[in-house]
């Protein structure tokens, strides 16, 4: 039963965060709009990974495989910025 409860809690958190994304889009924070939206989206992705995709209960190898691609996300951002920030 407690198991299902955590799913429902996560689901509610996701809905609240979606509301937050919509809410923030009405504020004009300049560049910070994107930053805030990305922080919220990353939080949601983390929740989905940890609970809905069971990463919390997985062995280390699987967690490692799930985290490894973040390195490549960093690579594509750094590589693209190395162009756009030096034009």
């Amino acid at each position: 039963m407690a198991y299902y409860k955590s799913y429902v809690m996560v689901w509610i958190a996701l809905i609240v965060l979606t509301g937050a994304t919509v809410g923030v889009s009405f504020l004009n924070l300049g560049l910070w709009n994107a930053a805030v939206a990305l922080v919220i989206a990353s939080t949601k992705a983390t929740l989905v990974g940890l609970y809905f995709m069971h990463l919390r209960h997985e062995i280390k190898l699987v967690i490692g495989f799930a985290l490894f691609p973040l390195l490549f996300l960093a690579l594509i951002i750094i590589g693209t910025l190395s162009d756009t920030m030096t034009r």
Binding site: P69, L75, I76, G79, T80, S82, D83, T86, R87
Partner: protein, 532 residues
């Protein structure tokens, strides 16, 4: 159903269409991908025929654009990316590691159907054939009236299939190795396929998302790539090459894996530098993600980024050079027999060295400005991809044909085809290096008369190449029924797939073998097992 019955024993459409046997799925991929190899090759012949004359001839410039786009897109997405991993990889990964199937057999069949659905969607696009080149650069692809959206959707499905196949192989290699099959006892083809699968899983989602962004741009005018709306056309190129550079290693790493199996077997010597070859596959996979900007030196990317990407590009040459060194060291003082798989493997080494070294001219910032978008690049790419990957594939096909079909190829005809293809290939593509250095741009339907004679030479070469390929495929088809019955282990190889009957039984192994040694202890008969 008895366990020793061949995997080919059951007949009928349903037994193939609903199969979850990795061997049958491998064969289905083999047939599908090679169909597109033949179609793509036919389109190349048309292109070369047109270039026989410098002026307008045969068909319009627009048709030329459509044909080279179809040639490129088909060869890349429907043939060369899946050709080795999905076909030979599917067939041989479980056999080589001592497993009965891949980790997720149903997912495996599902990936095949995703692949076929993608192909069907792409075929629909032929109503309004695209002329963007296989690279789909914005803004042209975003504003183009042809069926770019349809093709993007089709390639999205093909990409999904590629991701699932890679995922399946990674899990298979991690979890289904036979008892005693430690990482350092794995055949090197497996190491190559592991590196390949990692790239497939990590890079393909990026191209999938990029296609979705392109579709959003086309359908809803979002403006990711449109400067007027705050977008950046170069962003498309960054995303596209973040996938498409690593993916050339999806094409070449499995071929390198095949070469690492064939060379020691036909030189009767233990492979030289096992760990160096194994880890260089992973090193290539990793470095391949750091160098994509070398496709954008003249696209308007910043000079600073150009310097960084050019510098990083040179690092790819290191693990690649290590592999070549190790193969040649394996050949040294070996007792070499020149059967057809070995001929193809040696051809791979020879042509791939030319392809690899000319890549350095393109990876160097200064020389690339001169040869970029010329025939030099076309020659380089075909030396690495056809001279490299396809020669490695041919080596694998000749090596494993007896295992897959249970029949031997006609060795004499295999060698005739080899001669024709090697000569034809070089006559076709070597002149393109010279044409490129002289400044002939690629992707134009017409060219100045001063380039005429070398173009004639290249076109004649393409005919030799075509005849060779026809002979080779005729041999493949004819030997299905008329080849000599293959013994279990015609090459006296030591890897596990040769220890089961040809063709293998449906369950691969009656009893899962226990592995006690690496598979490269060749040369016992001569007492030479150095490198162990």
């Amino acid at each position: 159903m008895s366990q020793t019955e061949s995997y080919l024993a059951h007949k009928g459409f349903k037994s193939w269409a609903l199969t979850m046997d990795h061997k049958r799925i491998g064969v289905m991929y083999l047939v599908t991908t090679h169909l597109f190899f033949l179609i793509g090759g036919f389109l190349a012949l048309l292109l070369r025929l047109k270039l026989l004359s410098p002026g307008p001839a045969l068909f319009s410039a627009h048709t030329y654009d459509v044909l080279f786009t179809m040639h490129g897109a088909m060869m890349i997405f429907l043939f060369i990316i899946p050709a080795i991993p999905s076909s030979l990889g599917n067939f041989f990964i479980p056999l080589l590691i001592g497993a009965r199937d891949v980790a997720f057999p149903k997912l495996n069949l599902f990936s095949y159907y995703l692949f076929v659905s993608g192909i069907l969607v792409i075929l629909i696009s032929l109503v309004q054939p695209i002329d963007t080149g296989w690279t789909f650069y914005t803004p042209f692809s975003a504003e183009n009236s042809a069926a770019v959206t349809t093709v993007s959707f089709g390639l999205f499905l093909v990409g999904m299939s590629s991701i699932l196949t890679g995922l399946n192989f990674i899990v298979t290699i991690h979890t289904l190795r036979a008892p005693g099959m430690t990482w350092y006892r794995l055949p090197l083809f497996i190491w190559g396929m592991y590196g390949t699968s990692v790239i497939q899983v990590l890079s393909t989602p990026v191209i999938g998302i990029t296609f979705l962004l392109l579709v959003a741009e086309r359908l809803f005018g979002v403006g990711f790539f449109d400067p007027a709306k705050g977008g950046d056309p170069l962003l498309f190129q960054h995303f596209f090459w973040f996938y498409s550079h690593p993916v050339v290693y999806v094409m070449i790493l499995p071929a390198m894996g095949i070469i690492s199996e064939v060379i020691p077997c036909f030189a009767r010597k233990p492979i030289f530098g096992y760990k160096a070859i194994a880890y260089s596959a992973l090193a290539i996979a990793f470095i391949s993600f750091l160098v994509w900007g070398h496709h954008m030196f003249v696209s308007g990317m910043s000079t600073t980024a150009g310097v960084i990407f050019s510098f990083l590009t040179f690092f790819v040459a290191v693990p690649t050079g290590m592999k070549i060194f190790n193969w040649i060291a394996t050949l040294y003082k070996g007792s070499i027999s020149l059967d057809s798989p070995m001929l193809w493997a040696l051809t791979f080494i020879f042509l791939f060295i030319i392809g690899g070294l000319t890549g350095l001219f393109l990876g160097s910032l200064a020389t690339d400005v001169h040869v970029h978008d010329t025939y030099f690049l076309v020659a380089h790419f075909h030396y690495t991809m056809m001279g490299g990957t396809v020669m490695g594939l041919f080596s694998g096909l000749h090596y494993w044909y007896p295992k897959i079909t249970g029949r031997m190829l006609d060795e004499r005809w295999a060698k005739h085809a080899w001669w024709m293809i090697v000569v034809g290939f070089n006559v076709t593509f070597f002149p393109m290096f010279i044409l490129g250095m002289q400044g002939m741009p690629r992707r134009y339907a017409e060219y100045p008369a001063k380039y005429h004679s070398l173009n004639v030479l290249a076109t004649v070469g393409s005919w030799l190449l075509a005849v060779g390929i026809v002979i080779m495929f005729a041999n493949f088809i004819r030997s299905l029924n008329r080849g000599a019955i293959a013994p279990a282990n015609p090459w006296e190889a030591l890897t596990l797939e040769w220890q089961v009957p040809s063709p293998p039984p449906e369950e691969n192994f009656e009893v899962i073998p226990t592995v006690t040694d690496w598979p490269y202890s060749y040369g016992k008969e001569t007492g030479d097992t150095r490198g162990k």
